[in-house]
Amino acid sequence: MLVEMVIDGMDMPEDGTAGDLAADLLVRVAGGDQGAFAELYDLLSSRVFGLILRVLVNRSQSEEVLQEVFLEIWQSAARFAPNRGQGRTWVLTIAHRRAVDRVRASQSSTDRDVRAGIRDIGVAHDSVAEQAELSIEGERVVAALGTLPDPQREALVLSYYGGYSQSEIAVLVGAPLGTVKTRMRDGLSRMRNEMGVNA
């Protein structure tokens, strides 16, 4: 699997010229190519699982969601439009949506509350053996987050990793809803400038 993780690194469009391997694989998956599906899984599963674990913390729930995510990818790969964005973005968007939906739907309020305490200060996953070893890209993201004004960073972290909605965040941070909405737009916009994103 390590080899694939390296390939995943190459897939990162750092210079804007690298091919979009995930997109190529998705197109083949849409045609029913099971080998391409296995390749896509090997390429992205540890990144997807890391994200789901970050949001859900609970390992067995995260494994279930990981499975749901890749089943959805198998079933709906035909809806991926290569001209409308990166394959990797498409996969991570599905993973994030399913992780957040699960955290909202299935974890009891107490669980969520306890986890919120753990999670909202921005935590990773559940074994120290898995020391956070960030990719270069990951470190750039953390650095870019660090350049945001605190309220913007807080809005992004609470929503993306915490699974909180805008109205929940407004209550949590004691800001008007409209302000929270604007902070998200401004925060993403600054991240984009810092990171040089192309859709």
Binding site: G32, D120, G138, P151, R185
Partner: protein, 251 residues
């Protein structure tokens, strides 16, 4: 709606943070203004970058096996059947009636306000902990709890294990030293033993015998925190298959 208002909605959508009503406004606006799709795509790409700040974790191989077995049977939809998934209104994907959860969630929120009140202070707290393992943060929280407790055992091998827990947090962390290295096809597995029942509570690896492992699930006072050696990926049956090498009662 003007483009600026749409950009605000698109950011909330990319972070999956919109209310159901706003999610519908977003979807309607996108249908009415296909020229704004680029804004939505940029935001989706930017939000997806945030995934990189979570370190990759290799999933157990059982998930891969199970998926490859399932896709042989699972039908695929064609492109014509619907819009791209990422643009689906949230209401379709959300299984539960939100009203009910929201009212229940309010109590949690009231408590959360206390827990994360320090958040606004910001960067200094947030960024270093972004990369800190959950177990380490959990341990800090347990130690800060008013009902923090710990118990230590020493194994015949000389290895030591200390359980730290807080009944009010429902959270426990096991810290080990000197545990034997395992073969590649073995792993240490945590259990919460509650009466007759053993609940799987996560796998952990050691680094030179040392580990700080978060006990998965909600621990209750009276549970026994136990560790067994299982095959790689954890006990396939969900039950311990070997005698525990560590067992620490929390009552």
């Amino acid at each position: 709606m003007n483009e600026n208002e749409f950009a605000v909605l698109a950011a909330g959508h990319a972070l999956r943070a919109l209310s159901d009503a706003d999610e519908r406004r977003y979807a309607d606006a996108l249908l009415a203004h296909p020229e704004w799709a680029a804004i939505a795509e940029e935001d989706a790409a930017t939000a997806a970058l945030l995934a990189d700040a979570a370190a990759p974790v290799e999933p157990p191989s059982t998930v891969r096996d199970s998926l490859l077995a399932q896709i042989g049977q699972a039908p695929q939809s064609d492109a014509a059947t619907g819009p791209s998934t990422e643009r689906e209104p949230a209401t379709r994907a959300r299984p539960e009636p939100r009203q009910r959860r929201w009212s229940r969630g309010l109590f949690a929120l009231a408590a959360s306000v206390v827990l994360i009140a320090g958040l606004g202070i910001g960067a200094a707290v947030l960024i270093p902990q972004l990369t800190q393992p959950a177990s380490v943060v959990a341990l800090e929280k347990i130690e800060a709890a008013s009902d923090a407790q710990q118990a230590r055992v020493e194994l015949d091998s000389g290895a030591q294990a200390t359980a730290h827990w807080s009944g009010s947090l429902g959270s426990a962390v096991l810290v080990t030293e000197g545990l034997a290295a395992l073969d590649d096809d073995e792993t240490y597995q945590l259990w919460l033993v509650r009466g007759e029942e053993a609940l799987p509570a996560g796998l952990f690896e050691t680094d030179a015998g040392a580990a700080t492992a978060l006990v998965d699930g909600t621990m209750r006072e009276g549970d026994v925190i136990a560790v067994t050696v299982e095959q790689s990926g954890g006990s396939p049956t969900g039950l311990p298959t070997t005698e525990p090498i560590i067992a620490i009662p929390t009552a």
